[in-house]
């Protein structure tokens, strides 16, 4: 399927991650300085030239395991720390939000507007740091360059690839349930009303033509919905009104319970892309992405602070314990099973090692390192 999904996956999932972290940081009454630092560090890493260039290379979309590993590393590019249980919940929230956006977008091209909505808000988060703003702008330009020329059909293929990636995920998100975006069974609501996509006509008309192309008859039929004409098209430029609201920040500080998630009953356990240890290309991608993430400030464990995606530390600990007992929803190897702090820092160290090797030899790191990394992840 599409070979161009990765940049959009990271921008949108990363964007959702930042929205949620922003909400949690403020709910925890984190200092302005610390909050700004966290945002700047994560944005700086995610939108770094090296990382984005890796993402922009044509490649397949791999498993949730790989995505989650890289996003965890991104989150920890700052001085903030997340417990495995919180990281799990964060990933669930990110993915369900993006799934909702991809599912509901009126036409495939709107995927770009959704991505631009994320980038606009990210730019706002780091607006006081010119260097970070520059990085976001640079990335935005590259995205415009890479995706503007794609046809609707190619963008639909990209969308279908993303939908396959999200298939069978029905984690219930409190905010979505509250706003009735999601049903109690975890499925998203799809209305048969509202504006039609740009380029589509409101359904309900049959026109018959003669051999010369003249309309000879027209008849209406009941559309079974209440559709209205399309609204004006959003801007695909670096700055502009995107018009659509998908991809904008839905989280508010006043309602931290919005980030609660729960598994819908009778949800089947699925594995997308069996975790095949011989998936060389996937390992290579993981190694390249980890290696391309340079962090300016290596966090020292003492100066870091923890963020909790739950109401209390007790809740977080309970979630961690119960989740390791039940099977993971997406067949993701449970990184949280690495209760051992040492193993976690070992992973960070290996990831750090890639950076040094990057400088000496810009070639792909050897398979050895990749397998070491995977072994670390598999170490249950």
């Amino acid at each position: 399927m599409s070979m161009r999904t990765l940049p959009l996956v990271f921008i949108n999932l990363g964007g959702e991650m930042l929205y949620i972290l922003d909400q949690r940081l403020r709910a925890h009454n984190t200092s302005e300085d610390n909050s700004e630092k966290v945002m700047n560090d994560i944005v700086g890493t995610m939108f770094s030239k090296a990382f984005m260039d890796e993402l922009l290379k044509p490649q397949q979309l791999y498993s949730h395991r790989t995505m989650k590993t890289v996003l965890t590393r991104l989150a920890h590019a700052s001085i903030m720390r997340l417990n495995p249980a919180s990281m799990d919940r964060l990933y669930e929230l990110m993915v369900m939000a993006f799934k909702n956006q991809v599912f509901l977008c009126l036409r495939p091209k709107d995927l770009l507007l959704i991505s631009y909505n994320h980038m606009d808000t990210i730019r706002e988060f780091v607006k006081d740091t010119p260097m970070a703003v520059n990085q976001v702008d640079e990335t935005h330009r590259k995205i415009i360059e890479a995706y503007s020329s794609l046809s609707e059909g190619e963008l639909q293929l990209l969308r279908q690839t993303l939908l396959t990636f999200f298939q069978d995920m029905h984690v219930r998100v409190s905010l979505f349930l509250k706003d009735q975006i999601q049903n109690p069974n975890g499925r998203f609501a799809l209305t048969t009303s509202g504006p039609v996509p740009h380029g589509t006509d409101v359904p309900g008309l049959i026109r018959i033509f003669d051999c010369r192309g003249r309309e000879v008859r027209r008849r209406e039929f009941p559309s079974g919905g209440s559709y209205t004409s399309s609204i004006r098209e959003g801007s695909f430029e670096l700055h502009g009104n995107r018009v659509i609201r998908l991809g904008m920040n839905m989280y508010t500080v006043d309602h931290p319970e919005e980030t609660h998630t729960s598994r819908a009953p009778s949800v089947k356990v699925i594995t997308y892309g069996s975790p095949n240890p011989l998936a060389k290309e996937e390992l290579n991608l993981l190694a390249r992405l980890m290696g391309s993430m340079k962090t300016e400030n290596k966090p020292k464990d003492e100066s870091g602070f923890r963020i909790n995606l739950f109401n209390t530390d007790k809740e977080e600990a309970e979630a961690g314990a119960s989740a390791s007992a039940e099977e993971s929803l997406y067949g993701v190897i449970n990184i949280q099973a690495m209760q051992d702090e040492q193993a976690a820092s070992e992973l960070a160290r290996i990831a750090g090692q890639f950076e040094e090797e990057e400088e000496e030899k810009p070639e792909k790191p050897s398979n050895n390192k990749g397998e070491e990394l995977l072994a670390m992840m598999d170490d249950l």
Binding site: R107, Q160, N183, R187, T192, D201, I206, R219, Y227, A279
Partner: protein, 336 residues
């Protein structure tokens, strides 16, 4: 006009792919095969007509006897030829052909995949059985592979490669009215909405090219010389295939159409889209007088579901079946 019948449960959910449902009715054995694609596998369920027996089977897309990882499947479709029925499965890696019950793979054709991935995706999509013994399969480059299929055995050969489309093939269909008098017997569609009309033979002949307007045609059928095409804009257009004359245009759906199907004996037309609606229409086509008439008959809404497959289960359109993204069932409707 139609009411909902008992759904058939399938082992996994349907993926968001065009034309993601294929149906094969086997009258002598009083059963019907259904296939639905889920990521890298095909779910096949065979339902007995008395509703008592359901057999399930799953097929994966990979080269036989090779331990490579599986690849994502784009489409699975039954191909009905005079002497045999085959199940054709197209993926990112290649094309597989099975006996129609999915029991044995009789042919594998690998696609040329570049050493380093290019931005242009590589896959096969668009499947049709064409008079007299051909199976045509589309490729992401726009090429159409024509396979010559013997009446039995696995000696299937690649007979021709048709290079007319410049964009990825989305769907294709052969003339389904059963009439031998039609000049054109294959229509192929691509991501730009362009339709090519062909006459089959040892060398396929291009009869006509109908331009699209840069809007993908995701599903196409050919009946009584009329190409019926469903587009990403939600429009359905009826063209006289050989001349390209537009006979009818329907603002049918509010979202991308994923499937159109025709019941050849009655002229019923089925359309389904991401807007969660399935619509039934009736077409009256009189080739002699060049007249076409289309009437809307019925709507069904599959709540909160982006539909990805819809097919009539019989030539009269007495029953039809529907699949949706993330749905693990085949929903069925029969005439009241």
């Amino acid at each position: 006009m139609y009411h909902k019948e008992k759904s058939i449960q399938i082992k996994n959910s349907a993926s968001a792919l065009y034309n993601n449902l294929s149906v094969l009715r086997i009258a002598p054995r009083r059963l019907t095969h259904f296939t639905v694609v889920h990521a890298n596998m095909v779910n096949m369920v065979s339902a007995s007509w008395d509703g008592l027996n359901y057999t399930h089977r799953q097929l994966q897309s990979k080269e036989p006897n090779v331990a490579t990882s599986t690849s994502l499947i784009m489409q699975a479709a039954f191909c009905v030829l005079p002497s045999r029925d085959l199940l054709v499965v197209t993926s990112q890696k290649g094309i597989q052909m099975y006996e129609s019950d999915g029991s044995i793979m009789v042919y594998w054709h690998a696609l040329d995949t570049p050493e380093t991935p290019t931005a242009q995706a590589v896959f096969a999509r668009g499947i049709a059985a064409v008079y007299e013994n051909y199976i045509c399969v589309g490729v992401s480059s726009g090429a159409i592979l024509v396979f010559d299929v013997p009446s039995k055995g696995s000696n299937i050969t690649l007979s021709e490669v048709l290079e007319e489309h410049k964009e990825s093939i989305t769907d294709m269909a052969s003339e389904c009215s059963g009439s031998q008098e039609c000049i054109a017997n294959l229509v192929t569609a691509d991501d730009g909405g362009n339709l090519c009309v062909w006459k089959s033979g040892e060398e396929f002949q291009l009869l006509n090219k109908i331009p699209g307007f840069d809007m993908s045609c995701s599903s196409v059928k050919l009946w009584k010389g009329t190409a019926v095409a469903g587009y990403g804009t939600g429009q359905i257009r009826l063209y006289e295939a050989v001349t390209g004359i537009l006979h009818a245009e329907i603002n049918a759906h509010a979202r991308w159409i994923y499937s159109v199907d025709i019941a050849p004996f009655s002229g019923l037309l089925l359309s389904a889209a991401e807007d969660s609606l399935v619509r039934v229409w009736h077409m009256t086509i009189t080739p002699e007088t060049n007249s076409v008439e289309v009437a809307h008959l019925h709507n069904e809404c599959v709540t909160d579901t982006q539909i990805c497959g819809a097919r009539f289960c019989d030539g009269d359109g007495y029953a039809f079946a529907v699949t949706g993204y993330d749905l693990s069932e085949i929903i069925r409707y029969i005439q009241s």
